[in-house]
Amino acid sequence: MKLGFRDKIYVGIFSLLLIQGLVVFFWVSHVMKESILAEIKNRGITIGISLSARMVEPLLAMDFLRMKVLVDETVQLGDDIFYAFVLDRNATPLVYTFKHGFPTELKTVNSVLDHQKGSMKLLDTGEHLIYDYAVPVIINGNRLGTMRLGLFRTRAEKAVNKILISALVTILFAIFAAGVVGTLLLNPLTESIKKLYASSEQALRGNLDARTAPMLKRNCWDIMQCHQNECPAYKNYHHRCWYLAGTLCPTCVEGEYAKTIESCRQCKVHKQCSGDEIQSLAESFDAMTLSLKGNLTDLRDTEGILNEQKALLQTILDAIPDFISLQDYEGRYVSVNEAFCKILNKTKKDIVGQKNVTLFLKNRAALYDQEDREVLDTRRPLVKENKVEGAKGTKWLHVVKIPVLEASRGTMSIVCSGRDITQLKAVQEQLSHAQKMESVGRLAAGVAHEINTPLGIILGYSQLLLEELERNSQSYKDVATIVKQTKNCSRIVADLLNFSRSSESTISEFNMNEAIEEVIGMVEHTFGLNHVIVKREYHQHPLWVKGDKEKLKQVVINLLNNAFDAIQKDGVIRVTTDGRRENEIKISISDSGCGIPKENINKIFEPFYTTKGPDKGTGLGLSVTFGIIKEHKGSIKVYSPALSGKKEAGGTQFIVILPAHLNGKKGEINGENSRIG
């Protein structure tokens, strides 16, 4: 069982007093006993000497009566004197106080020499212990006899014991009195300490409304006769005004506590209201909790603001597509944003506190560590582009590492930000390629323009020559080949010219279904030779379009040719139009061909891109198509494989969206049904 403070004090006081009492009782009483016995012994010697001096005259005169009177009177001096007697120089008893004869053994039991002051012996009579004193009766250096005196030691001890009992009683009384006084003094002290402890416990539990200090009979407003309601000390029964800031008393000094308290100590309020150290402790504790409460409130407010700011900052950081991280001087990640987590495919929890070596592959981690060290050592930012090969392909990252001095810690940190520039890189490549193609296109157009005329002449003359030759002759065949190849060249040149320069458009309003049907009509026979069937699913109403009909027909021809080329033999080409949306018409041309590999699907609209053989395509068809549709403010999308199972599986589907002409010749075509071929 653990003792409380008060119990400890009690035990301490009682133990101390008990030990002190025991020591005093045993030690001091021993000293006292010795001194009393010494005093008794000395008393015996003194009485003996005195009696010896008084005995000279009667002894000289051999006045037995006077000698007897003297010894009797001496014995009557006190209860502790047992006997007295006088021996002459021959040790013969002259007078004595014994009533029943002189005890023979007493004569020789104690002796004293002439030059001695006296001699003392302790005698044991069996009944009493007796101090026997022998004092020589001397006159002018001549021994007349011996004075003997007997004092009860037992009675002396009784006196000593009386004193010891008194001492014991005194000690016990002192212990009792100390206990009573201690209780009276300790009770308020321990009560105050208990109260302080309880308040401290409350404070630890978060209750800072401590009420430890006692209520005063007179408070500062009573003493100063103050009625200022605004003063924080007014009617504040639990806090002393000298601990409160912003009091309105005219004698109060503004400033720090150390300055104000010196002034307050001179104030009559402090002089009248301040108590002992415990009260001061309680009052200062209350003031401390009050101050703590204020500080905690401020702290909580600040913490709230900080958390808010932190959350805001984190939100901003997380919202930024760039990845951002903060590393300490040791290279340990302190903070990261969502983008960073996404890149590493880890959570913040997994990243914060880790180093590069645990987050990246060994070689890359070593590279990053080297970069970080360089940034920290040189204190210069590092800007670089990283090419990262991953399972999802190659990525390009633009990375900036900036050294930051943490003022609070005095150490350097690294802020690293980066962004995924893979798309930008691709666009850059496309742009570069397009620029290159544009140059090539212009060159090709120039060349085409220059060779178009000679080609026309060659074709003209070849045709003339062909008419003159016999059909079955070898020359005819050769010239026919020349004509055929020249026509190929003319078509190539025409495509080049179409691609390189916008030919003048003839804008008209027409039904797109009719235009498509015209085109299908031209190619259907040819396709049919290779068992390629064209199926039609036209919108039930005419789809009026305002634009260049021939160019748009060229678009359909190109798409149908591409579908045919993809099928080559035994397949289906499905042509569908849709005008359900008010503002646009949709044309879908899908085939059951081989489809386009995924990696090539973005390249098909690039000029000169072709998968056909060198004599079968220029790679300009889809580029021209794309340009015409753009010219008509439409769009074209390609899907490979086709979007739904309804379409030909595994093939390619082109969807062209064109703006509908709302003010077209609705009345003429209303009621027409769609045809399915």
Partner: protein
């Protein structure tokens, strides 16, 4: 104590905290032990065995008594060495005895309890007259005279007494009614100056046994009595007790024969002669004798006969004193 504490702290077997505790316990025990003293050894005595004491007089004892004009202690001091000398010189078993009063002294001479009496001349003429004592020697005072005087004294600051005539109506303390220098001689001297006993307001004698000369001086010194009468040389006896300058001698009496050695009636003459011989041999110039003589306060003992004291007898008649018992 310190050693005990240190001892326990050095003992490694006891944990540090316990060492101190044990040290305190030992210290407390040691302090408590200080309170336990050893008992003194006691000698066993049996008080039940007792005897009745009977004092036996020594045989062929020659008793020597000095008239108790002073205390017994002074009497002893003055004559102890002389008696030792006489014992040695004569081979007699001489013992000094101490009568308490002049009367007792005289009575003991009459009862043959005092063989050799050393007394003043007035006592002598009385014991000679009453008990047949015979003078056989007398002393020579330290002044070199074989006579001595009485003195009338008062306090030095007593302005009312300047001359002997101023003693009238005063309170007078004398040594004893049988004192020579302390009463008889001054009384004769006063009569010579016309002052009788009736002229005094009060006449008292020093009380109690022995020490009477000192008592007179001390009474005057204390102011209890106006004048006192003492023998010449008595002031020197009390010089260690009081400042004798505070005492003024008003007047000195005429000289009379000094102190006398007398043998009781029927004392063996041979013994008397031996004593007379031994006393007469004392020589102040002899170193050993001088100590004896100085202690006895005389320088010489000379032979004397009864007629040497007739002048004293005449004085007694003059003052009206009876020599009877």
């Amino acid at each position: 104590m310190v050693w005990l504490i240190c001892y326990y702290r050095e003992d490694n077997k006891i944990p540090g905290r316990n060492k101190v505790r044990y040290g305190w316990v030992v210290l407390l025990f040691f302090l408590l032990c200080l309170g336990c003293g050893e008992d003194e050894p006691a000698i066993k005595v049996d008080l039940s065995v007792s005897e009745q004491i009977k004092f036996e007089e020594e045989p062929s004892l020659i008793t020597y008594a000095y008239l108790p004009q002073y205390s017994h202690t002074i009497s002893y001091s003055r004559h102890h060495a002389l008696i030792q000398y006489l014992r040695k010189k004569t081979g007699l078993n001489i013992k000094q005895i101490f009568p308490d009063t002049f009367d007792q002294h005289m009575e003991m001479v009459g009862q043959n309890k005092i063989d050799i009496s050393f007394s003043n001349p007035f006592i002598y003429i009385k014991i000679a007259h009453n008990y047949g004592a015979k003078a056989f020697a007398r002393i020579v005072e330290m002044t070199g005279k074989d006579e001595f005087r009485g003195q009338i004294i008062c306090r030095a600051d007593n302005v009312s007494i300047q001359t002997i005539g101023d003693c009238r109506q005063k309170r007078w303390i004398a040594v004893d009614s049988t004192s020579a220098g302390g009463y008889l001689y001054p009384l004769g001297h006063l009569l010579d100056h016309g002052i009788t006993k009736m002229d005094f307001k009060e006449i008292v004698f020093a009380p109690g046994p022995g020490g009477k000369q000192e008592k007179v001086i001390l009474s005057v010194y204390a102011g209890k009595y106006d004048i006192g009468t003492i023998r010449e040389g008595a002031l020197d006896v009390v010089s260690t007790k009081i400042d004798i300058n505070k005492i003024r001698v008003i007047s000195m009496t005429d000289s009379f024969p000094g102190w006398v050695y007398a043998a009781r009636k029927n004392l063996d003459k041979k013994i008397v002669d031996q004593l007379k011989q031994a006393l007469g041999t004392l020589d102040f110039n002899n170193k050993d004798h001088r100590e004896i003589l100085e202690a006895a306060n005389f320088i010489k003992v000379i032979p004397s006969i009864d007629s040497d004291f007739d002048s004293v007898r005449q004085l007694a008649v003059k003052v009206g004193m009876s020599l009877g018992e």
